[in-house]
Amino acid sequence: MASTDQTREFPGAKAPDRTGSIDSSGLRLALNEWGDPEAPVLAMVHGGFDFSRTFDVFAPMIAEAGWRVVAWDARGHGDSDHAHMYGWSADVRDHLAAIQSISSEPIVLLGHSKGGGQLLDLLDGRPSLAKAFVNLDGLPSQFSSPDVNDRERRRMRRADLASGLDRRRRRNELTRRPDTIKGLAERRQPMNPRLSREWLEYLVTVGARHDDEGWRWKIDPVLHLGGFGPWRPGWSLDHLAALEMPFLGVLSGVQDDPMGWKSRHSDIEPFLPPGGRLEYYDDIGHFLHIEQSQLIADLVLEFLEPLR
């Protein structure tokens, strides 16, 4: 399965100008940066099962407009260390460690999906970290689909519990399945059905590693979609209402995007902080910043203009 074809290009994609790492209580998190190192800082936090290089098109657009864009890989994702334990609060703490290592002054924070949801938690407890916050489809409102009854919800939780424990029992034997660039991109497509194959193949070359058997995603194989725990969407909305910095939320209205959080404008609007702004696109999927990079970059830059 070894391939000699190990590179892909994608229009507008640009490797980071600088790389480094952050220490979070002994765990090494990989850091990527684009733009002028002296420019004001805008930090980007990726979503679950993504990694910071998924910003390879979007980040350079922001950097080109005069920002120092910084992004790190979450624990177990991308080039960051794999951890023994994972959890929402540990990710939030890692974000704090990263932000504090980057700047002692408030910076602009942008989070996509799970990264946006985690920044909501962080900024409720640590509002002084941010001078503005942009949340890209990371505002949960109906985690449990309304047509799922209690019995079905319990059945799903139970199945998730068993598979999670089984996976942890086998964690020392788990590896990511090797494949070709094309094969790995095809396997990712169901999570990203609206993104082009060309983009997904590019992602393989920056988010997977190559060995004698082929390409494997770098993400820790013990991690799986779903997870379990008592978390519920309303808790995140409480954090949203408590924010005090300038806020821009951007929602995808595409209801059949498998990774989307499917929040509607009317779900979120009542919880907007004072002066908060909410944009809704019913024709752009969950990965707004990839599917419509320039449109979303222009929106973010326009929102940030008064803060320059």
Partner: protein
């Protein structure tokens, strides 16, 4: 007897499993409270149990290893107990405080391997309450080998425990168990999650020694 200790692997970390009493048949597994560790000898309240008495040190506690940079969740620590189940087969659990919460979770997740669970008072029984507590995010210095791990104390004292979430696990146990009363509450402290569990029609309340005797 002086306790003996074996080490089980959970990923790359070692878990200390202590034998406090030898015996034949299904073991009684003791789960300690938050920040505690397993007792050095068999507690008197286990006297009704004729089989082996085991005690597990949770990750970051007692003689078990400390992970790098925390990440503790009660759901994650279910895998500590699951490592014992994989090694020793079916057990009956007595959980103290935080161990009671994990005991209920693992009883619901591994219904064929946890044959009865007793929920008892102890450190960490409350957790973060029914709703998430006031946000508090802090980065601690790398803890190395400090025990109990400061991250365990921070993260496991703030985890939300909604009553309806606890009752999901009660349902899992009751739907599968072949024991007449598989969940017994012996705790006197009743945070909302435990009050809801105790009020469930399938759950009974007994003093600790009687509770253990009911599973012997």
């Amino acid at each position: 007897m002086t306790r003996s200790t074996e080490f089980l692997l959970n990923g790359s970390l070692r878990l200390a499993l202590h034998t406090l009493a030898e015996g034949e048949g299904r073991p009684l597994l003791l789960l300690h409270g938050l920040g505690e560790q397993s007792p050095m000898s068999r507690p008197a309240w286990t006297s009704a149990w004729n089989g082996p008495v085991l005690a597990l040190d949770f990750t970051g506690h007692g003689e078990s290893d400390v992970p790098v940079s925390g990440g503790y969740t009660p759901e994650g620590l279910m895998s500590d107990v699951d490592a014992v189940l994989a090694e020793r087969g079916p057990v009956t659990i007595v959980g103290r405080g935080f161990g009671a919460w994990v005991g209920l979770l693992i009883a619901g997740a591994r219904t064929s391997l946890v044959q009865g669970v007793v929920l008892f008072d102890g450190s960490g029984v409350v957790g973060g309450g029914s709703q998430p507590p006031t946000p508090y995010v802090n980065v601690l210095p790398a803890s190395g080998t400090t025990k109990p791990d400061p991250y365990a104390l921070l993260e496991l004292s703030r985890d939300p425990r909604p009553p309806d979430y606890a009752l999901d696990y009660v349902r899992f146990v009751l739907e599968d168990s072949e024991i007449e009363n598989p969940i017994v509450v012996s705790a006197r402290i009743r945070p909302e999650w435990l009050a809801a569990v105790a009020a469930d029609i399938g759950v009974i309340e007994l003093p600790l020694e009687q509770a253990i005797a009911s599973f012997a």
